[in-house]
């Protein structure tokens, strides 16, 4: 079974600075998807970024980028120019591409605080 590990329960960053959230995963598969979701206090899960394992290029969405290291099974999220609205719980998630297995497996999350 796949597992996702987020080793940082909490992180903090100053406004306008850069922060990196860590995620590692364990799988025997070669083709899969990885995601970062954010969950603000409103509790809605919002997709931040997605990465397809067969693509070597790291995904980027505006101020959010990932460092995808397939051999190391590492998928970190970098937030540049942090804003107060970035404060949230961030979850890393894995999804297999095999067959009809659409299940998302989530890490335990990292609570990000942004200090003004």
């Amino acid at each position: 079974a796949q597992t996702v590990t987020q080793s940082q329960p909490e992180m903090s960053v100053q406004e306008a600075e850069t922060v990196t959230l860590s995620c590692t995963y364990d799988t025997s598969e070669s083709d899969y998807y990885l995601f970062w979701y954010k969950q603000p206090p409103s509790r809605q899960m919002i997709l931040v970024i997605r990465q397809e394992a067969y693509k070597q290029q790291n995904a980027t969405e505006n101020r959010f980028s990932v460092n995808f290291q397939k051999a190391a099974k590492s998928f970190s999220l970098k937030i540049s120019d942090s804003q107060l609205g970035d404060a949230a719980m961030y979850f890393c998630a894995y999804r297999s591409r095999r067959g009809s297995n659409y299940k998302l497996t989530f890490g335990k999350g990292t609570l990000l605080t942004v200090n003004p």
Binding site: M45, R50, F91, R95, Y102, K103
Partner: protein
């Protein structure tokens, strides 16, 4: 992209009762999912709901406790039956199929407290 909503947004219920949570998407989607997020925890998939077939439940979740309906391609319900305080959680629905089969988009969640 499609908009997803859930009702109710929160509820407080007595033990032994049941609550039905509704999930509505404003366009037709292939697959819908129900997750549970216990206090301070991550999300765990309860079941996958496909239109026209029985829901597929994950290990540890059973149909008698969490019956699910999927009458059409825009709507699903999850019932939490015979509730106990351990059922106090946030319940979230999600969908895939809005042009990107591989990505799930989530509703705002239902916060359930069982007394």
């Amino acid at each position: 992209s499609a908009v997803i909503s859930q009702k109710p947004s929160r509820d407080i219920c007595q033990r032994g009762t049941s609550l039905t949570i509704q999930c509505q998407v404003d366009s037709q989607v292939t697959m819908m999912f129900w997750y549970r997020q216990q206090p301070g925890q991550s999300l765990t998939l309860i079941a996958t709901a496909n239109q026209g077939s029985e829901a597929t439940y994950e290990s540890g979740f059973v149909i008698d406790k969490f019956p699910i309906s999927r009458p059409n391609l825009t709507f699903s319900t999850l019932t939490v039956s015979n509730m106990s305080p351990e059922d106090s959680s946030i319940y979230l629905c999600s969908f895939s199929g809005d042009g990107k089969q591989d990505t799930q988009y989530f509703g705002p969640g239902t916060r359930l407290t069982v007394l």
